[in-house]
């Protein structure tokens, strides 16, 4: 028994991480399915409905097809970097989930794989590394379409990262912490309920942050990097088979991570609506575990809703022109988000002055 205990303590963390990675893989498949289904209904057609019940197994069939396809590396491409780029994208997309608090445990701690003190900075740092994936993919393919796509994409991603970082600061000013768990708990207010979520306390920050997250994931209306009509496939023009599949996988996991991040920062993360009114009842009756489970479900529901909105936006709004994109990022979002920091700081000062905070 003691040895079993020792073995369990040795393998529980890898098991949890393994489970989470598989969870992300399945989520990505479901998102691909959701995107194809939602776009189909927006365009008044049926979408995939042949493989499995109502087409649910379609993304798995796609994965098998991609694995059995030939992996073509262009002769002029820089081979190592050519395979490094999709690897990098997958790693970054997959490992951001480690620092996200999924719920509050009954003992009042964060339910996260790694509850580090600077988890907000970790997420920002990880997402900014994905610029390298895109740029290296574009450059190493040695094709003009790829190069242009990679350049455009890197310029777009770094431009929107600034406004995103500034919008995150306005949240940090209120929460006084860079830990995502503290940021979520800061939105937990017994009597105000959902009104103390950051989307209501900091609406400008929410809008800037959501737009930037949309741009960071390279989705329409910000999908210039892979504008099919102009650039064929953008940075992944020269990728085929599973390497293309890895970009595809990373794109959908990134969509999910963006939803997670928006929800954590602005929609109260795992908090249930007005949970302060009834969380005590669960804890008193020894149902703390059930409450934690409900929080995870609530979190997933919020993230799914944001992902649905992203898909909805993609199939509704046409693509920006490049100058409009750069103007929006640098001339509007960046000054607005910096002004928003000062506004939030002033509001904090006023609240502090009257003793409301």
């Amino acid at each position: 028994m003691a040895t079993l205990q020792a073995i369990w303590e040795f393998i529980d963390l890898p098991l949890v991480i393994f489970g989470m990675l598989n969870g992300f893989l399945i989520t990505a498949s479901l998102l691909v399915y959701a995107e194809r289904k939602v776009s189909a209904y927006i365009q008044e057609r049926n979408g995939p409905d042949r493989v499995g019940p109502v087409g649910l197994l379609q993304p798995f069939a796609d994965v098998f097809k991609l694995i059995f396809k030939e992996d073509i590396v262009p002769t002029k491409a820089t081979g190592f970097i050519h395979s490094l780029a999709p690897t990098l994208m997958v790693i970054i997309a997959m490992s951001t989930g480690a620092v996200i608090p999924w719920a509050r445990t009954p003992s009042g701690e964060a339910l996260a794989v790694a509850d580090v003190g600077v988890s907000l900075l970790v997420v920002l740092a990880m997402t900014s590394i994905s610029v390298y994936g895109v740029t290296l993919a574009g450059w190493s393919s040695n094709s003009k379409y790829s190069l242009l796509g990679g350049l455009r994409s890197s310029a777009q991603m770094i431009s929107y990262e600034l406004a995103m970082g500034a919008a995150a600061i306005s949240v940090v000013v209120m929460a006084q912490s860079l830990n995502l768990f503290h940021i979520v708990e800061n939105q937990n207010h017994a009597e105000f309920g959902i009104l103390s979520w950051n989307i209501f306390r900091n609406p400008i920050g929410f809008i800037v942050f959501a737009v930037c997250a949309l741009a960071e994931t390279n989705r329409a209306p910000f999908d210039l990097p892979e504008a099919e009509q102009e650039l064929v496939g953008g940075y992944h023009t020269e990728y085929s088979g599973m390497k293309f599949g890895m970009f595809f996988l990373a794109e959908y996991v990134n969509l999910w991570v963006a939803g997670i991040f928006i929800s954590t920062m602005f929609l109260g993360g795992y908090l249930l609506p007005w949970e302060g009114l009834y969380s005590g009842w669960f804890l008193e009756n020894g149902l703390g575990g059930l409450f934690t489970f409900l929080q995870v479900l609530c979190f997933l529901a919020k993230v799914a809703f944001i992902a649905f909105c992203f898909i909805w936006i993609r199939w509704t709004i046409p693509r920006f022109k490049y100058n409009q994109l750069m103007n929006l990022g640098w001339k509007y979002l960046l000054p607005i988000s910096i002004a928003n920091i000062m506004l939030i700081a002033l509001i904090v000062v006023v609240f502090n002055q009257f003793g409301w905070a």
């Binding site: 963390l13 694995i67 262009p74 999709p86 794989v113 790694a114 393919s141 190069l147 490049y322 904090v348």
Partner: protein, 123 residues
């Protein structure tokens, strides 16, 4: 604490393993029928002209440089943001707000100068 980061590094390592195994799997299972045409860069069906290691618009360098400047400035605001309410509670809030305002104004003047100079105009 540095030990808090161990699970994060483990997750990165396992994600690396996943990515490598996907690559290897595709390499083993996929067919290999190389052709010269198939392995040439795609250029709308024509033979590739010139090289893709070419010079490109200086605008991209400009955006990159301006990004570094502003990113560093925004990073400077994080420590202030974390401790602002702590300053307020201890009576130093207005002073720190004034200091950060000066900093932000300098930052915005830089941005305004850049916009006026046309450094961010794409036509």
């Amino acid at each position: 604490m540095l030990t808090d980061f161990v699970p994060l590094f483990l997750m990165i390592a396992m994600a690396l393993g996943l990515a490598m195994s996907l690559l290897k799997l595709a390499e083993w299972l996929g067919p290999k029928r190389p052709r010269a045409i198939k392995a040439s860069a795609y250029e709308s069906g024509m033979d590739p002209v010139g090289t893709a290691r070419d010079r490109y618009s200086v605008k991209f360098y400009l955006v990159g440089m301006i990004f570094i400047v502003f990113d560093v400035e925004i990073v400077f605001m994080y420590p202030w943001a974390v401790s602002f309410r702590h300053f307020l509670a201890n009576g130093g809030g207005l002073g720190s707000l004034a200091v950060i305002s000066v900093f932000v104004v300098i930052l915005l003047v830089g941005l305004l100068y850049d916009i006026k100079k046309g450094g961010l105009d794409w036509d």
